[in-house]
Chain length 365, copies 2
């Protein structure tokens, strides 16, 4: 296939292996696997999980839940704070599938009591240190309040406690990731101990890619919900969650100009393709690593070569004298994205190495 | 209209006034106005420019040129380095409209000589200090080379010199913007003087919103190509390009949770809606200002209240004790985007205050 503009390439084999590895890990530790589909947002890629007998998923919006329901999924956790304004959609979905929502405080219980029409499960989100959303693990009064009030609502079925240790993304070392993971496990287990006699079926669900990829202790945990591992990306590579060879997507970009004086390469590939997510590389912003494309995939990243700035459609690559001379206007080069979820969301489709186009969920307009 | 999920609101009146103001400014200084449509990317909004007798536009990709051609525009400059890999599309477009492309070095001339099938205009991009793309203004050899080689190609019609002072976006003060502007004007005029005898028709085209909004000296300039002014945004407000009341878009977001301890509000509205563009506000990252919505628009931003972090779908707002108590779960609040071009590109449609839906160009899949 002729590539003429930014195109998100997907190495199906790498992706499939990433899925397999996480499936095996979940099996090894006797964990229920409820992968987060917010990364790929694709019915086509979703199907590959079915080959591994995965039947339950997480999503991050009601729209995404509807999309995957329409594509054959019927056990879905919307792992995002319950949005009262989408109650109609939630009621409708709950009539058709096993649907779980996330409560992050007692703030929506009264609302659900009045407006819920069909049975849904709910998890309480626990803030074990990320401080994004959820009830702080130590705030027992609030857990008591949610559980007490929800008991009066027959349509509301308490499933357990859920957390997302997103703070692992900011860790400086694997030791730090391990500390975050174990602290979070400890807090989750304490909560279960406290409420187990009242709710003997309650489950613990955790779900960030760094912890799920790197850790080997899931004592007491029932379910994992990683998402990013399906593709991984430069950020995960830097955290140690994956090898560089496991990154399953790269953005193919046309080289449109070269700046001889600055040893910079200008590509057609900008913030509307990659997103403005960056990592710091020797103190400078890096918006993606650069790889050479081959017919059967791509090579390892070029040394000392990465995107130093992005505007809407331009990407500027700083490189070495040696690589500069080898890259030509009219070439196509690959960019390993810093954050594959955001890149996939912008690109809205995948092109596999055997030239199959796999659609991504479209924006609901 | 019921708003239940992130929705990009457009105040048509503000937008219309922004257009009018720039049209009048162009008239006042006797400048050809070739607005950049990469910000709104919308046929519907494009039509409003026709009310002001604007007939020529700039775009940032071949896809966008095709989209606007299909929507009735027939004088288009693709203000992005010429991409050899899209020659077929360029040839096809050039057959139907007045098309200009951008050459940023002599690197594509040989290619065009061999492959160009229809007449196109071209500008040479001049790097007057932004250092993104273009020939450094002092690099006379390269200008000579482009102009000499292109003379042998009858289908290639030299239009003039074009620059984009994107460095104005990083200016710390209006004085600095003024310095950038005047330095760039000086360099452009020197180039014209040098080549005017050879090319008596050559034009000078400049095009960044801060300079076009703020400056009042365009001596020697023939054409302006600002884009962002159509909506403006928090970044432009901070640069002084606009008043806060001129920002014509806000992202309406459901409030889904409140964190009493941290005085934080959690909204449904994240990086997939706003983009991860930020400004620094007292040394901290700010991803958007917060406004209260009214039926006829929105108010001024709440004091000491802004988005401090974004993940894929979550936005976290830090606010004051007073405002915290006034915002409730289930409310809809507005976020003035830091970079409206990227937000519009993600949202893919606009909802006007009188509830008209205006589509944005979709991703070509």
């Amino acid at each position: 296939m002729k590539i003429a503009r930014p195109t998100l390439l997907l190495d199906k084999e790498k992706c499939w292996k990433n899925i397999q590895e996480m499936v095996l890990k979940a099996k090894k530790f006797d964990l229920k696997f409820r992968p987060h589909f917010k990364t790929h947002q694709s019915a086509g890629i979703g199907k590959w999980f079915k080959d591994f007998e995965v039947n339950s998923i997480s999503v991050s919006s009601v729209d995404m839940a509807i999309y995957f329901f329409q594509n054959g999924w019927n056990d879905i956790t919307i792992a995002f704070p319950f949005n009262q304004l989408e109650i109609d959609e939630v009621n409708k979905l709950a009539q058709q599938i096993n649907l779980n929502v996330l409560l992050v405080s007692s703030g929506s219980i009264e609302f659900l009591k009045k407006n819920l029409k069909n049975k849904i499960g709910f998890y309480i989100e626990v803030d074990t240190g990320y401080h994004r959303s959820g009830i702080r693990a130590e705030n027992i009064n609030e857990f008591d309040s949610v559980l007490k009030q929800s008991k009066d609502i027959p349509l509301l079925d308490f499933k357990g406690f859920l957390n997302h240790s997103g703070n692992s993304y900011h860790a400086k070392s694997q030791k730090e990731i391990s500390q975050i993971h174990h602290k979070s496990l400890q807090k989750m287990k304490e909560l279960r101990s406290r409420y187990l006699s009242q709710f003997p079926q309650l489950e613990l669900s955790i779900g960030d890619t760094p912890c799920c990829s790197l850790m080997n202790d899931f004592t007491g945990i029932d379910e994992i919900r990683p998402g990013n591992f399906v593709f991984y990306d430069v950020m995960q590579y830097r955290l140690g969650s994956c090898s560089i060879g496991q990154i399953a997507v790269t953005l193919a970009c046309p080289v449109v100009a070269k700046n001889q004086e600055l040893k910079e390469i200008i590509i057609y590939g900008g913030a509307v393709h990659l997103s403005k997510e960056y990592i710091l590389q020797n103190g400078s912003k890096c918006f993606g690593y650069i790889v050479r494309l081959r017919k059967d995939g791509w090579e390892k990243p070029l040394k000392n070569t990465f995107i130093i700035s992005l505007s809407q459609e331009h990407g500027i690559i700083k490189t070495t004298d040696e690589e500069f001379d080898k890259i030509h206007i009219g070439d196509i080069i690959g960019v390993l994205p810093v954050h594959s979820c955001l890149t996939a969301n912008l690109m809205k489709q995948y092109l596999t190495l055997d030239e199959e186009i796999i659609p991504h969920m479209q924006k609901k307009c």
